[in-house]
């Protein structure tokens, strides 16, 4: 319906009206001018025809009398001279030759009849009848040939007397009576069209010839007819023979077109008339035909205009409609091609719609993918949570059981045993929570690798150092092949990776060997951890990197199933490639590809370097601030065992007092983030002000909230997540106390 409405809109109407007008004006102009000129031409033609006919009648009538004149002229000069019997024979011959002449009289100069020859009556010679009063005779006596008025014999027979003057003395004047029926035939023999005819009047307006002879016989005078009146009014014997055309009425009162011409010698006027309706019939017919054709043309023009206008407006309308539908979101709508200039527009429009649709579809696909990924991640999280909860329940359950047995038991040996087992359960839980914390940190993205060049040997030595006792205890031959290569990575993270791999290798190797070896491969270093353990079935090689997955052959073995997932996350974070090769029952080989770096600044000590020397913790002074007294004592004992000088405080106030008493600045401040009284660790440490000096600050926190970590990092402090494993605390401390790290962190904090 919108289309219909808009089709009736102004553009369509404008086009239609314009096109129709353009054709109409042409057609009308052509038609009207055609009619006008044809009308004129036809009128001229009709007038010409009438004029010719009138002239023809006049000429033939004149010719008729001229012939008679000729015959009479021959008679007026007969060879017989005055011999009357001879003359009579001549006249008789003349009557034979000219049927129209009924009587001939030969008069002497005085008007006395010398000879009379007639068709009807007895001839007379020398009758001397007096004709001197005859008008025609008088004119002839003056020497001019004259025609008398028309007269009727026995009422109905029209005659006319011609008087011929004496051409030779002694012959005399000749009077001839001429019957006019032959003239009638000349005049009435002319038909003009269907109802047109010719007639003649004398100078008085009396009919002398008419197709209806009875009118002439009744001596009808038609001078009342307008055309006759006009002709008589303009009657001038001296005027020429030009035909004149006027309108008038005939005796029936019908409008006629009339043309008249004068016959000079007779003083008659010949009229040729045609009813106006008939004369104009061809013109009317022509006009009717023209109008009909014009009407047809106009209708055709109208239809064509509508068609054209529609064709012109339709593509525009289609464009408009397309834009409208596209605007409503019907992306699949396209405009039909129209094979004209607007086609390019339509094509561009379609291309635009195509692109819009594509980008729309891409967007939707991405949203879908993301949703699917999210669902997968959500499922993984759920699975992760379920696994973690399950693994946490076991030691808690065990501790619960041990505690109840402690409550009821009294044997000291059994109690020690129970306590030892509870400690082991606690260790397992701590380890699990540590791992979970690591994964959580890695997933939350708060851990940014601190990439730098360092010698691999530092890590490898630590591995050997840390796992040597465990391996020996298990009867496994642990070999770490030393190297001088340096890599560019985060040393803490890389060490964690290798720790986990070696730990796994030892754990899943009942007997045999574990080998850690590095090798340079062009610009990379391949670090491999081999073992001769249970191996991983090919079907499980993917799954081992997922959380809480444990190799099926190793059921019942200790472990959390988080080690490899942490390894995977760390490698992803560091951008190191991790490969796995394994044959079930034969052993496993993990390969970590790390980039090769130039030798670092610090040169490494030999293999036999003592642990304390590596850490550089001995002799450092540490301030521990925690509102939990138990925690304070445990930590003090631990740090003291590493050779550190420890100060403890339960609040900021106490800490200030301790520092003031110490007089010398401390190297490290370890502070709980959430202290009693709502004060956070950052605030507490800052409140210590200058007394704290340039100490390395580590904040202990149980939360992994990114905001907290950020706040701590912003303050230039390091974060330490609870519960703290001694090894982790020690490595972090030693790392932070490295002079280069201290410098760079201080610069960043300031």
């Amino acid at each position: 319906m919108t289309f219909l409405r808009s089709m009736r809109g102004s553009l369509f109407r404008k086009y239609a009206v314009f096109l129709t007008l353009a054709v109409c004006i042409g057609l009308l102009g052509d038609g009207l001018s055609d009619i006008y000129f044809s009308n004129r031409e036809l009128n001229v033609h009709l007038a010409e025809v009438q004029r010719e006919q009138a002239a023809s009648i006049a000429w033939r009538t004149g010719q008729f009398f001229r012939e008679i004149e000729g015959h009479l002229g021959w008679l007026s000069a007969p060879p017989s001279g005055g011999n009357l019997p001879r003359l009579r024979v001549e006249v008789q011959r003349l009557l034979r030759q000219v049927p129209s002449i009924s009587d001939v009289r030969v008069l002497d100069a005085h008007g006395h009849e010398r000879l009379y020859v007639s068709r009807f009556e007895a001839d007379r010679l020398h009758s001397r009848t007096d004709w001197s009063s005859n008008a025609a005779f008088r004119q002839a006596r003056e020497g001019t040939l004259s025609y008398g008025d028309v007269y009727f014999r026995r009422e109905t027979e029209p005659y006319l007397t011609i008087a011929l003057p004496e051409s030779k003395p002694g012959v005399g004047i000749i009077l001839a009576d001429v019957h006019l029926k032959a003239v009638w035939d000349v005049v009435s023999g002319t038909r003009i069209g269907e109802n047109g005819y010719g007639y003649a009047v004398d100078r008085n307006g009396t009919l002398v010839a008419h197709p209806d002879s009875s009118l002439v016989q009744r001596k009808m005078n038609v001078r009342s007819l307008p055309q006759v009146q006009a002709a008589l009014a303009g009657f001038d014997p001296s005027s020429g023979e030009r035909a004149k055309r006027v309108t008038g009425t005939n005796l029936d009162g019908t409008e006629v077109l009339s043309t008249h011409i004068r016959i000079p010698q007779l003083n008659w006027i010949v009229f040729v008339e045609q009813p106006q309706a008939e004369a104009n019939a061809p013109i009317r017919e022509w006009i009717a035909r023209s109008l009909f054709i014009m009407a047809g043309g106009l209708i055709l023009a109208f239809l064509v205009s509508i068609r054209l206008a529609r064709a012109m407006v339709k593509p525009i309308e289609a464009l408009r409609l397309g834009a409208e539908r596209l605007g409503r979101g019907e992306m699949s709508h396209r405009i039909a091609a129209s094979s004209d200039e607007l086609d390019a527009v339509a094509r561009q429009f379609n291309a635009m719609a195509e692109r819009l649709q594509e980008s729309y579809a891409g967007l939707e696909r991405k949203v879908e993918e993301r949703t699917r990924e999210l669902a997968v991640a959500n499922r993984a999280k759920s699975r992760f949570l379920a696994g973690a909860s399950h693994d946490l329940r076991q030691p808690v359950h065990a501790i619960g059981l041990l505690l109840s047995s402690l409550r009821s038991g009294s044997d000291p040996a059994a109690m020690r045993e129970t306590i030892a087992r509870a400690g082991a359960a606690c260790d397992a839980m701590t380890e699990l929570l540590d791992s979970l914390l690591d994964i959580s940190r890695l997933d939350s993205g708060v851990v940014q690798p601190d990439l730098r060049a360092f010698p691999l040997s530092t890590i490898l030595q630590r591995i050997e150092f840390d796992f040597e006792p465990e391996a020996r205890a298990k009867g496994i031959d642990l070999r770490v092949v030393g190297t001088t290569l340096s890599t560019r990575s985060d040393p803490v993270m890389l060490r964690r990776v290798l720790f986990n791999l070696v730990s796994n290798a030892i754990r899943y190797t009942p007997r045999g060997k574990v080998l850690v070896v590095c090798r340079r491969m062009r610009d990379r270093i391949r670090i491999q951890v081999f073992d001769t353990g249970v191996g991983i079935a090919a079907s499980e090689q993917e799954a081992v990197f997922e959380e809480f997955f444990q190799v099926s052959q190793a059921a019942g073995s200790p472990g959390l199933g988080l080690g490899l997932s942490i390894v995977r996350r760390l490698c992803e974070t560091l951008g190191h490639r991790l490969d796995l090769k394994s044959v079930a029952g034969r052993g496993t080989a993990f390969t970590v590809w790390v980039p090769l770096a130039a030798a670092p600044l610090a040169k490494t000590a030999g293999r036999e370097v003592r642990m304390h020397d590596i850490d550089g913790l001995a002799g450092r002074s540490v301030l521990v601030v925690d509102d939990d007294g138990e925690m304070l004592d445990t930590t003090r004992a631990l740090l003291a065992s590493w050779g550190c000088h420890v100060l403890t405080a339960e609040s900021a106030h106490q800490a200030r007092a301790e520092l003031a008493a110490q007089r010398t600045p401390v190297d490290v401040i370890i502070c709980d983030y959430a202290l009693r009284g709502g004060k956070d660790g950052v605030h507490t440490v800052k409140s210590l002000g200058d007394i704290a000096g340039a100490a390395v600050v580590m904040l202990l926190t149980a939360v992994t909230d990114a905001a907290v970590v950020e706040a701590v990092t912003a303050a230039g402090y390091a974060t330490l997540h609870k519960p703290v494993k001694p090894a982790r605390l020690r490595s972090l401390m030693s790392y932070l106390l490295t002079p280069a790290i201290r410098r760079s962190r201080r610069a960043a904090a300031s």
Binding site: L4, R93, R119, E121, A122, R218, R310
Partner: protein, 346 residues
């Protein structure tokens, strides 16, 4: 959705040609039906569904010149049997029978009566004053009381007159020209023809003026030809002038044969006499009179009132010389007359 445009109905234009065909066919059928029904009806003319009827009323039987009448009618568009009916009423010389026929004609309600010669015209005039009468070949209709005047005859009658003047005087003059020694001339009249009795005195006077002794033989009819010519021979008549008469005309062959038998040269009116054996004929062409009469009939059939149609008079006079008969009768026809003749018969 395709909207419908208001002008889409015009698309049915393509059905027009077929409709036009049907229309044209229907029109054709209608026209054929109309013409087949109305055509003959239109041809029926007046008098209900009857064709217009013309009654030819004559004392004598059909003249060879009657063809002039039918020819002209045909030229005017009448075809006998199609749109005109011509009925013939011939009295065979009997005046009584002529009157009876006239009454019969009037009873049958014809449209026009074509009355030939004074006997026919007189009978028709007596029988009706309502049915239009067209007469032919009457020299003096006013004198006979048939019409009021030549220009306006009045009543229900009009027609074509014969020669206004008595051509017998002209014939006598012509006889004198041919036979200068002519002394005794016969004038043959019919006792039943009133015109003859009117004109005979003038003819006698004219003959005397031309220096001839006139002998008038008035007979009742063709039966008396022989006795009349026998009387002429007895009286020593050298030539005879046959006065025009419809009865004599009908019996012209017998008339002229009788004259030849008695070796008396005759001058008569119509060329038919010359063909039959008259030495000279000088008179109107009757065929032309018939022709003109047909024009009157046409005008009346087209609604003209006879009373206002002026009487037409003949102007054409024909001179025919039968040279063969002249030689036979030892009549020397002068060259001047032969030159005047419209026709000569060898």
């Amino acid at each position: 959705m395709h909207p419908t445009y208001w002008y889409e109905s015009i698309r049915s234009v393509r059905d027009w040609p077929r409709r036009g065909c049907a229309l044209a066919r229907a029109t054709c059928v209608a026209c054929i039906l109309f013409t087949s029904v109305a055509g003959p009806a239109a041809a029926q003319g007046r008098n209900g569904n009857m064709l217009p009827r013309i009654a030819v009323l004559s004392l004598t039987s059909l003249s060879p010149n009657f063809g002039g009448f039918t020819d002209r009618l045909r030229q005017l568009g009448y075809v006998e049997g199609r749109n005109i009916v011509i009925e013939h009423y011939y009295a065979e010389g009997s005046t009584e029978k002529l009157d009876q026929l006239a009454a019969e004609v009037v009873r049958s309600h014809v449209d026009v009566i074509f009355a030939i010669s004074p006997p026919g015209a007189t009978a028709a005039r007596k029988a009706t004053d309502s049915i239009p009468i067209v007469f032919m070949s009457i020299s003096n209709p006013v004198g006979m009381g048939l019409i009021e005047s030549m220009g306006r005859p009045g009543g229900n009658i009009t027609g074509v007159a014969n020669m206004p003047t008595d051509l017998n005087i002209k014939r006598l003059e012509m006889l004198k020209d041919v036979m200068p020694g002519l002394r005794r001339v016969a004038i043959i009249t019919r006792s039943g023809n009133p015109n003859h009795q009117v004109n005979v005195a003038g003819q006698v006077a004219a003959a005397r003026k031309f220096g001839m002794q006139p002998y008038v033989y008035s007979i009742a009819g063709p039966a008396d030809f022989d006795s009349a010519f026998a009387g002429m021979a007895r009286d020593g008549v050298q030539a005879a002038c046959a006065v025009q008469d419809v009865l004599f005309f009908a019996a012209r062959k017998q008339y002229m044969e009788t004259a030849l038998r008695y070796r008396i040269p005759v001058i008569a009116d119509g060329h038919e006499y010359a063909e039959a054996g008259a030495v000279i004929s000088y008179g109107v062409r009757y065929r032309a009179l018939h022709d003109r009469a047909a024009v009157y009939v046409d005008k009346i059939l087209k609604g003209a009132k006879p009373g206002v149609l002026p009487i037409e008079q003949p102007t054409e006079i024909e001179l025919v010389v039968n040279l063969r008969i002249a030689r036979e009768l030892n009549v020397r026809v002068p060259l001047a007359l032969i030159m005047r003749a419209n026709r000569t018969i060898e």
